[in-house]
Structure formats: structure tokens, C-alpha cells
């Protein structure tokens, strides 16, 4: 067992030896090693989170034809640290009438719900926190804690805008969770497991090539789950200023912000794991677990970049349109897709990979084409209806 082939096990064996040398009981040692693993993984994500601030600001600047942070350090790389110091030394204002315990608990839970997701992310075949056999549902469960933190923050701040923002956000979150669960079922069907590592291992062909529609739906629901544009009603600044975290200042606001960025990056990572083959890249992952981890992070950044691309390109959607889009379009589509995939999975031969993938892909494309045709007919009818109404108004005015 050497370091290059399995770094985690190498270090944990070494630590076991060290702790045994100190005369520590076996179960204490194993507990301590697990704790060290958790602390290392969680703090690594926090460090990455700090750099995500820089990435986000730099990318948005480029989208808006600006330079972005470029004064502090090379390419402005020290900027996020300056931001952190600023947030730390800002006065922490608790508004009147706030429920102090809940008010302080909400930002903690918000970041915790995101960090929890990294417990199941397989960074490499042998580097993962824990390979739960209920991984897909675990994503939803962690999201539930995040939803709760939003409503707690809003209620505890005792502010109208915060409550309105939280209500909208939670309505959107719970609505888009339905198609998200349905699309999480599709990789589960294909890989015959809910475990994230199993899903990655099963992707000899990336699932985005097998079920492209599911990948698209998952991306849309992930963006809604993040509350980013075009689904950022929770902080529609022209109406409700900042939404649920309006009364938060200093580090507590910073935690919400950091949580949002890390959440976006995390969902980029899950998108990569579920549909882009995770840490696999044409056999390159066999070079070593560290290479595989780098591949996964690169893919997660790619997913994150798509999320940013959409955020800085599109406009905000009205809440009734958003919910109608979910309940009348995404949800039925996701369930029909689920049925099609289940049926095709039963019919297509599993031993012939080419036929299997081609059949799945063709059924997906066919379904997508039908959906686009239905949408086209619907929008034509809608246009005629509106135009007819306008003509009547014109006639009435004459």
C-alpha cells in the first residue's frame, strides 16, 4: 500500500500505528481518524469556498465586460481574504424583535446543509467521505435542512421583506424538488444503485449521452434549488431588497453568501457525478486517485461555470410563470421521461452497450422533439389569443 495508489488509506494506517503507539484504545483511534478525515475534508471545502468568491467575481466581471478584482495580489487573488477580514470586523447588528437563538442558528444551518453534501461526494475511486447506498436521497435530505434554514432566518429577523422572500423561495424550492427527485431516479435506474460511487463506476458512457433530457432537467432544477437567476425571486432586489437575509450583517451574511457559492459549486459537482462521469475521463483516472480528484474538481468547475453563465445571461422570471413552468411543464416531462427510461431499460438488451445507449438516446431525442412541438403549438395558440384580444381592444377604442 503506497501513498500514490490510496492516499487516504495510507494516511489512516499510518495514523492508526501512531495512535496505537500512544496506547490509545482501538475504537478511540478509529473515531479520531474519522474525525480528522471529516475536519480535513470540511476545511478543504471552506478553502475552496474562499476561492469561489474570487472565481465568481472574476467571471461575472468578464460577462459584463469588466476586469473584476485585480488590485489586491496577482489577478486580485488576495481579494477574498480582504473580504473576509472586512466581514469579520464589521459590526454585527441584531434587529429589534429578532428571535436571537433562531436568528443565529439559521446561517450556521445554511452552510452546514451545503457542507453535508460533501460527505458523499466521491473525489476518486478510493477517496470519498462515505459511500452511502442512499446517496441520491441524501442530496434531497441535505437540501431539506437548507430550506429550513431559509425559513428560520426570515422568521427570526422579524422583517416583512425577509418573510416574503423566504415564502417565495420555499415555494420554489419545494416545487422544483419534485422534478429533481424524478431526474435523480434516472441515473439510479441506469446504475442500479443510489450510491454516488456506484453511479460513477457504472458510467462507461457518460449519462449525458444516454439521457440528455434528464441532464438538462437536473440542471434547471439545480439552479432553482440554488435560488439563482432566473429563479432568484427570493432576493429580487427591486422588490424586496435582499430577501430572507436582509437583516443579516457582517459574518452572518457572509455565511449565507459563502453557502450559496459553495452550493452552486456542489451542484456543479453533482451534475458532473450524475451525468458527466464524475472523476472518470477516458481512463485518465487510473493514473492515481489525486488525478481523479483533479478531474472531478475540473468538471465541477465546468458545471459551476454553466450555472454562472445562465445566471449572468437570463432575466428573472415572475413567480406565477416559474411555478407554472415547474408544475405544468417540468414535472410532467420528468415523470414521462422516467417512465420512458424505465420501459426502455426493461426492453433494451443490456449485453449490447451500443444498442442500449443508442436506444436510450433516440428515445430521449424523440421525447425532446415531441415536447418542443407541443410547446410550439401552445405558444402559437397563446400568441393568437393575445393578438385577438389586442385587436378587440383596438376596435373598441375606435
Amino acid at each position: 500500500m503506497n501513498f500514490w495508489n490510496n492516499p487516504v488509506q495510507f494516511i489512516s494506517q499510518w495514523l492508526t500505528g501512531v495512535f496505537a503507539g500512544w496506547g490509545m484504545a482501538d475504537w478511540v483511534a478509529s473515531l479520531l481518524i474519522q474525525l480528522i478525515g471529516v475536519v480535513v475534508l470540511a476545511s478543504m471545502m471552506m478553502v475552496i469556498d474562499i476561492f469561489l468568491v474570487w472565481v465568481e467575481r472574476k467571471v461575472v466581471a468578464r460577462f459584463q465586460d469588466r476586469l473584476g478584482p485585480n488590485r489586491v495580489g496577482p489577478f486580485g487573488l488576495i481579494q477574498p481574504f480582504a473580504d473576509i477580514i472586512k466581514l469579520l470586523i464589521k459590526e454585527d447588528i441584531t434587529p429589534d424583535g429578532a428571535d436571537r437563538v433562531v436568528y443565529n442558528l439559521a446561517p450556521i444551518m445554511s452552510l452546514m446543509s451545503v457542507l453535508l453534501l460533501w460527505a458523499i461526494v466521491p473525489l476518486a475511486p478510493v477517496i470519498f467521505g462515505v459511500d452511502l447506498n442512499v446517496g441520491a436521497l441524501y442530496i434531497i435530505a441535505a437540501g431539506a435542512i437548507g430550506t429550513l434554514s431559509i425559513i428560520m432566518a426570515a422568521w427570526a429577523s422579524n422583517n416583512k421583506y425577509a418573510l416574503i422572500g423566504a415564502f417565495r423561495q420555499v415555494a420554489v424550492l419545494v416545487s422544483f424538488e419534485v422534478p429533481m427527485i424524478a431526474t435523480l431516479l434516472i441515473p439510479t435506474i441506469l446504475a442500479r444503485s443510489m450510491g454516488m460511487n456506484d453511479i460513477v463506476q457504472a458510467q462507461d458512457v457518460w449519462y449525458i449521452l444516454v439521457v440528455p433530457l434528464a441532464a438538462i432537467i437536473f440542471m434547471i432544477t439545480a439552479i432553482a434549488e440554488l435560488g439563482r437567476t432566473p429563479f432568484d425571486l427570493n432576493e429580487a432586489e427591486s422588490e424586496i431588497v435582499a430577501g430572507f437575509h436582509i437583516e443579516y450583517t457582517g459574518m452572518k451574511f457572509g455565511l449565507f453568501y459563502a453557502g450559496e457559492l459553495l452550493h452552486a459549486f456542489t451542484f456543479g459537482g453533482f451534475w458532473a457525478i450524475l451525468f458527466l462521469g464524475g472523476y472518470r475521463l477516458f481512463g485518465l483516472e487510473n493514473l492515481g486517485p489525486l488525478v481523479a480528484a483533479v478531474i472531478l474538481f475540473a468538471k465541477a468547475l465546468f458545471g459551476y461555470w454553466i450555472i454562472m453563465w445562465i445566471k449572468y445571461t437570463l432575466l428573472r422570471i415572475r413567480i406565477d410563470h416559474m411555478l407554472a413552468f415547474n408544475w405544468k411543464f417540468l414535472t410532467p416531462l420528468a415523470f414521462v421521461l422516467l417512465m420512458v427510461v424505465a420501459l426502455m431499460n426493461a426492453i433494451l438488451p443490456h449485453n449490447n452497450m451500443l444498442v442500449y445507449v443508442a436506444g436510450m438516446l433516440l428515445s430521449n431525442i424523440l421525447l425532446g422533439w415531441i415536447v418542443i412541438e407541443i410547446l410550439r403549438v401552445h405558444s402559437r395558440r397563446e400568441r393568437e389569443r393575445v393578438e385577438g384580444k389586442n385587436q378587440m381592444i383596438e376596435v373598441a377604442h375606435r
Binding site: 452511502l132 447506498n133 434531497i140 431539506a144 444503485s193
Partner: protein
């Protein structure tokens, strides 16, 4: 005492304590939040029993959906967040006696049951618990009828909810 037993005791105390807070706190939202702690504690118990699927489902359904529904309901209906009335009614001692009797009876019954002192089953490695469950849900020898009936039941619940909400408008 073993490590799982210690975990169990801590979790049990948290569940009971938060359940007590649910019924004694006067702030309705606080009651809902304490209820969430209770439900989360139950999820931890499932995890301690090696029932990972149930633990996750407990969090997804109870915390992710039902607790949110509770909070929405409280915020939509009550203008006043505080419960002003007395917390005990006249028959409180009667319900106390009944609760104590029920608890005593259950305790007496379960004491004699051999399954009570068992530890969590250890799965052989590679045992696909979720797959087995899925198999059982749709196999004609097992639970296919309850499975389908459950979906009809949920449909009925949805229809009922829509009907009630629709009439009120």
C-alpha cells in the same frame, strides 16, 4: 456500556426533551422547530438501527415536507404567534393518568418481548438492502398490493386536499 448504547441514550433524551418543549412552549413557531428536532432524532434512531433508507426518508418527508407545511400553516392562519390561553384544561389530571397507564401497560408488555433487547442487525458486506426493499415492493409474493394501494391512497389524499382548499375560496 457500548458506544451505540450511549448514542441511543443521548438521542432518546433529546427526542423526549424536544417533544416536551413542543407541547409546553407558547410560541407556535418554536413549537414547530422543536418538533423538527424530535423528528430528526427519530431519523438518528433509524440510522443507529442500520436502516439508512428509513433515516433519509424520515428527513426528506418529515423535515423537508411536513415541517415546512406546518410552518406555512402557522404563518398563514395565526395573526398572533403566541398562545395566550392557559396551557392546561380542567381534565388534565385524567389525561395524565391515562397516559401513565398506557405507558405502563406498553412497558410491561414490551418487557416480556425478547426482540426488545436485540442489537441492530449487521449486514454482510455487499448486502443490497435498498434493492431488496425494491424487490419486495413490487414482487407479487410480497407487497405489490400495498404498494399500489398506497399510491391510490395518496391520490385520494391529494383529491381531498384540493377539494377542501377549493371550497374555501
Amino acid at each position: 456500556m457500548t458506544l451505540p448504547q450511549i448514542f441511543f441514550l443521548i438521542t432518546a433524551f433529546v427526542i423526549l426533551g424536544s417533544a416536551l418543549m413542543v407541547v409546553t412552549t407558547r410560541n407556535l413557531i418554536h413549537a414547530a422547530l422543536w418538533l423538527i428536532v424530535t423528528l430528526f432524532g427519530v431519523a438518528v434512531l433509524y440510522a443507529l438501527l442500520n436502516a439508512g433508507f428509513l433515516a433519509v426518508v424520515q428527513v426528506v418527508v418529515y423535515i423537508g415536507a411536513i415541517a415546512i407545511l406546518f410552518i406555512f400553516a402557522v404563518m398563514l392562519t395565526r395573526k398572533e404567534m403566541r398562545d395566550r390561553g392557559p396551557q392546561l384544561n380542567r381534565g388534565w389530571w385524567l389525561s395524565g393518568v391515562i397516559a401513565a397507564l398506557t405507558f405502563g401497560g406498553l412497558f410491561w408488555l414490551l418487557q416480556a418481548w425478547s426482540g426488545f433487547s436485540k442489537t441492530a442487525a449487521d449486514f454482510p458486506s455487499g448486502f443490497d438492502a435498498v434493492g431488496q426493499l425494491g424487490n419486495a415492493l413490487v414482487s407479487p409474493q410480497a407487497f405489490v398490493l400495498p404498494f399500489e394501494v398506497a399510491s391510490v391512497l395518496l391520490l385520494a389524499a391529494l383529491v381531498g386536499a384540493v377539494y377542501v382548499a377549493f371550497n374555501r375560496k
